[in-house]
């Protein structure tokens, strides 16, 4: 609702009169963090979540998700990432813990990147989802390979994992224009799995 005038005797008292309508107001600060797209998996599940036609107008990308997979019988379930439709020239590394001990892994010259242990399996975990937050810094820079950093975890009320992971796409550096997310082992995302892709401005 626009305020077009304030009359004497109104509830507004002791107001300062400015000739500039911006004066007296806090400066508007546009946020550097914007939603690009959101996907929620419907009934029947989905094998792949794809963000395509990603604009190059941000400095960094961030993926946030809650995840359940169709896998049964295992608490460990990894989220997979591929950039620009490529299935070559990836490496990935992980530091993870299961509540009792910590471990690390590293894989070179592989076909996909890992985004951590964050997919809660469908069996026995009706209302639980894993979580992930992943960052791709300088995603449009054509002088840099793409390093993806992710924090992820699941807690299944008795079992679970937490992980700090990285993935490297070391093809000739290009801007990231699409992202494919799948569950390791070719399982499906279950209903209500949800991912958001966010852009973070750098100028």
């Amino acid at each position: 609702m626009a305020i077009t005038s304030i009359k004497t005797g109104s509830s507004f008292k002791n107001l300062i009169k400015y000739n500039d309508f911006l004066a007296g107001n806090a400066a508007f600060q546009p946020t550097a963090y914007e939603s690009i797209a959101t996907v929620t998996v419907g009934a029947g599940g989905s094998s792949t979540i794809t963000f395509s036609s990603i604009p190059s107008t941000y400095q960094h990308l961030q993926i946030r998700g809650i995840i359940k997979s169709s896998r049964t019988g295992s608490a460990r379930n990894d989220l997979i990432i591929k950039l620009n439709g490529s299935s070559t020239t990836y490496a990935h590394h992980q530091l993870y813990g299961d509540g009792a001990s910590a471990a690390a892994l590293g894989t070179a010259s592989t076909t996909q990147g890992l985004l951590g242990i964050n997919c809660v399996p469908s069996s026995g975990y009706t209302s639980q989802f894993g979580v992930v937050v992943a960052d791709i810094l300088d995603y449009a820079n054509t002088n840099k390979n793409k390093t993806i950093r992710s924090l992820a975890g699941t807690d299944n009320n008795g079992a679970g994992f937490t992980s700090l992971s990285s993935a490297l796409w070391y093809a000739t550096p290009v801007a990231v224009t699409s992202i494919d997310l799948t569950v390791d082992g070719a399982y499906n995302f279950e209903q209500y799995t949800k991912f958001g892709l966010f852009g973070i401005k750098g100028a």
Partner: protein, 169 residues
């Protein structure tokens, strides 16, 4: 989600490299500070280099506690240092054109209490060896943070290394 997420400033290292990336005259108008750092150093004979962050030009009163993975093993440690660990990058032996990725969060950076810092950092490399590093740091100083300096230890930061400083309210 924070109500504001505002770019304060950024640094990109040019050709020839740089000894540091620095932010000065940081305004006191936010609640927290957030750094996103993509770095590589010229340290020879290593896959990754140590990243160090100092506040207000001080090189004293920092302590740290960390958990790390090397691609094949894990370790945890603590110590008294001349800086907070943060901004770790790849080094000369890592895959070409590959940079580290670091998230550094500094809550309540203007408070009169000591300053806590959390970081999660990764380096990458097309080999088994790469570093994942989780760190909690403390600067035992009550001054508001007005400047931040990021260095590689040892070595210089190479071209295309970047640091972005955001204010969170």
């Amino acid at each position: 989600m924070a109500t504001t997420y505002t770019l304060i400033s950024s640094v990109t290292v040019g050709s020839g490299g740089a000894a540091n990336m620095q932010f000065t005259s940081i305004p006191a108008t936010y609640t927290d500070l957030l750094l996103q750092i993509s770095a590589r150093s010229d340290e020879a004979g290593a896959n990754w280099s140590e990243g160090r962050i100092t506040f207000n030009g001080s090189s004293t009163s920092y302590t740290t506690r960390y958990l790390l993975g090397t691609g094949s093993g894990t370790a945890s440690g603590a110590g008294t240092t001349a800086a907070v660990y943060g901004g770790r990058g790849t080094a000369a032996d890592a895959t070409a054109n590959t940079f580290g990725s670091s998230f550094v969060y500094i809550p309540n950076y203007t408070s009169s209490n000591f300053k806590s810092v959390s970081t999660d950092e990764v380096t990458e490399n097309n080999a088994t060896a790469a570093l994942a590093f989780l760190n909690a740091g403390l600067w035992s100083n009550t001054a508001a943070i007005t400047s931040i300096t990021i260095v590689a230890n040892p070595g210089n930061l190479v071209q295309y290394s970047t640091a972005y400083l955001y204010g969170i309210s």
